[in-house]
Amino acid sequence: APPQFEPVVDSTADVDTSDGLVIDGERVADAALFDAAVEEGRLSLYSGYVENSEKEVIKVFEEDTGITVDLVRLVPNRLSERVLSEQGAGRLGADVVRTSDFDIASRMRDAGVFQSHRVSAYDDLDDSVRYFDGEFYRVFNPLYTFAYNTALVEPAEAPTSWHDLTDPRWSGRLGITQVGAGGSSLTLNRFQEEELGPDFLPALAEQDPRIFDSSSAALESLARGEIPVATAVVSSVNIAASKNAPVNFVIPDEGMAAYDYFVGMTDSAVNTAAAELFLEWNLSKRGQDVFRQIGEFPARGDVEPPEILAQQLPTADSGKIVRIDPEVLIAAAEGDQRRWNGLFGYLG
């Protein structure tokens, strides 16, 4: 018998393609663009986004438009290496690139990877969403918080704030991800430094946490109950829980860190119409809703924050969703890393 898995994304929608692409009443593309895109039929996406989540996104997109997406998925660092190399050789195979990390996106931009495309909602978008005249857009933000194993920790006993983690109760029972693991870790680190005060990290280090190289490894351990509490990303926890992992996340009192995901159309795009349509769709309410269901925080301010695992996430203006300004992040990165490594006695 199939185990009872909740589908993460509910893709039912009212799609009308009689005149352009209209979904649930929202006009995602006009007829000219949509027809051209359908004509092209497929597009190539290089993505640094979590594999399973990206696949959910693609699935819905394909259902809505009938356009096939060819996915090449790599973790953001390697993605950037590959994109930059292919770009350098003039053989970039992607129509659209999605990556986390402003630093990576802007280095790609410097290498001439992107071409600007103004989505139809361009003017309504926040400046923290659209960049460089539409060369790339921030589409959503994964939320970095901590989670616990529900089989080991009663919800009532679960820590509710970041500072709870420094309670002796959790000494030796925490899992965290090392600071060098990518933009997400840096963001969380900056968040902790800025929002929790300079004493937080030293206190956390005192707890002798188990340090993982990637957040997925930490989540894996958490699900298997090797550690009861670990830092984790909301969408990952959501997906794990949907597969019956006994995990849940916490919305800490002090809020959580939100890091960025960007998407842009490449300069060498072959399937331009399909690529444009993909951008439009990503930034449409429909697209944003999909991300929301996965557990990401949508970039468009006019989309409700998600309700995940029966917890309603706070809104952007609640102050609990802390997005660090890319410039700040980049500027602080080196010092942060050094401090973190020093505190946790970590090589690297």
């Binding site: 185990p3 390697r78 290496e81 194993n149 089989a151 109950g225």
Partner: protein, 569 residues
Amino acid sequence: MRTLVRRLRQGAPTGVLLVVLGIFVVLPMLFIALAAFSDDVPRPGSIGLDSLSLDNFAIVGSAEALGALGNSVLIAALASVFAMAIGCGLAFLAARADVPGRRFLYFVGIAPMFLPSLVGALAWSLLGSPATGFLNLMFQSVGLDVTLNIYSMPGLIMVLALYYAPYAFLLVHGALSLMNPDLEEAAFVHGGTRRRTLSWVTFPLALPAILGSGVLIFALTMENFPVAQVIGNPGQVETLPSFIYRLMNASPSRGTEAAAVAITLTAVLLIVTALQQRAVMRRKFTTGTGKGVKTKLVSLGRWRWPLFIAALVYFLLAVVLPIGALLISALQSSPYVSSLGQLTEPGALSFYMIGQLILSPDFLQSAGNSAVTAVLAALLGTAVSFVVAYTVYRTNSAGRRVLEFVAMAPLAVPAIVLGLGLLWTWLVIPLPVYGTVFVLVIAFMAVFLPQGYRGVTSSILQVDRDLEDSAVLLGARRAKAVSWVTLPLMRVGMVSTVLLLLMLCMRELSAALFLFTSDTRLLSILIFDNYDNGAMQGAASVSLLYCVIILIIALLAKSFGAKTVDGAR
């Protein structure tokens, strides 16, 4: 002048080979080297010598790097010793001893290869994690007060030893099955005890294979990333590969420094290789002579059963338990298990996911890609290895030592770094292979050239030259002589090499990471992505299916070369 012409002519085959290997192997490594000496990553489009510096090497001297290096050397050394002991012992049993179930032991020897070290490591973390490991749960349920902690230096060494023993097994098995028993019998008759005979004749004669696989295992365990990541990392055991990985993964990426560390590693490993090469070149190890190869089984006497049982224990540790753990985790509906009893509850296990997976186009496509790539790369790789080994050990052409060095060089570069070099190379080379399966085939050939080369040399060294020369004298062209005499005699070794490469290619991830496209995704990428997403269950399921596929291919391959070299009857 004339001698010069002759020199050139003699050197010609080597020259061609050097060019081929140059493109396959040297060019990617040159890119890495360039990166190591540059301020900026020298990607296509921005390759140049203008930003040369030695700054990157500062990191090599850092306390962190040295600490990681120390750990790595210690771990690699110990793991190699254990892996060699297991591998050589098994090879001896399977090739030359009268143990019960010899054919089964051959399977035992190669079976752990079906598990990529990543999967093996995951499986062992399922089995031996102190909190929820199945073994610990089992100990608990029978009231034993022991806690196995796989997340430790010994645990890391054990897992590495378990999963690298097959390398030694395959190489040494090939060499041992060619051995002329007269040589052993002579020792036996002259008063040597059984054990003495083994240590004086049998194993020293397999020395090229043993040393070869030793160097190989040392290098590979030294740069093994998945095990270090899965087992070492939770235990806070710092190693060089995780160090390099962190450099590559840092944001912003510190690729040039990673390259510098890799280059240093290369230098260290080249020295090891050179020492090994000297040992092998100095002596002759020919045993399969024209006076007959009558492979005979060594009688073990009362050690038959104890040794067989020892082999079974290895099988249990390396294959049965891990597969069991994977199976449970692939089938269980919740990743969390607090006691073994929980698994027997209705609905706790289900084949649904695996069924889904088998039918998913993703899986089918990647399985197909993996199989095609692996088979092609294994066959071509073995062929290239043979040509190189033949040139090095059977001709006098100038530059054959260089050739050997080049062939062994990829060993010294962590695959993840080499993958980058390969990416740059094949982007720059104006051949329409980038983005196709062929680029993967080429990449795998390059990455596994050392393994293939070692596998072939360990056998080629055992076949008496006179055997081949006589065919040439009797009117055959050299190629014919090789295919009629040398290759058939080396069959066991060659089949072993093909198998080895096949399995390595099936599992290889790092080298493919930068080169695959949506059409050419491989199973290994599927596994890694699953793991990377924290989808342990998916990883376990794919791994299991992957093991089945590999098993099928391996059995097919084995059946092509099933007969051992005991003469036509």
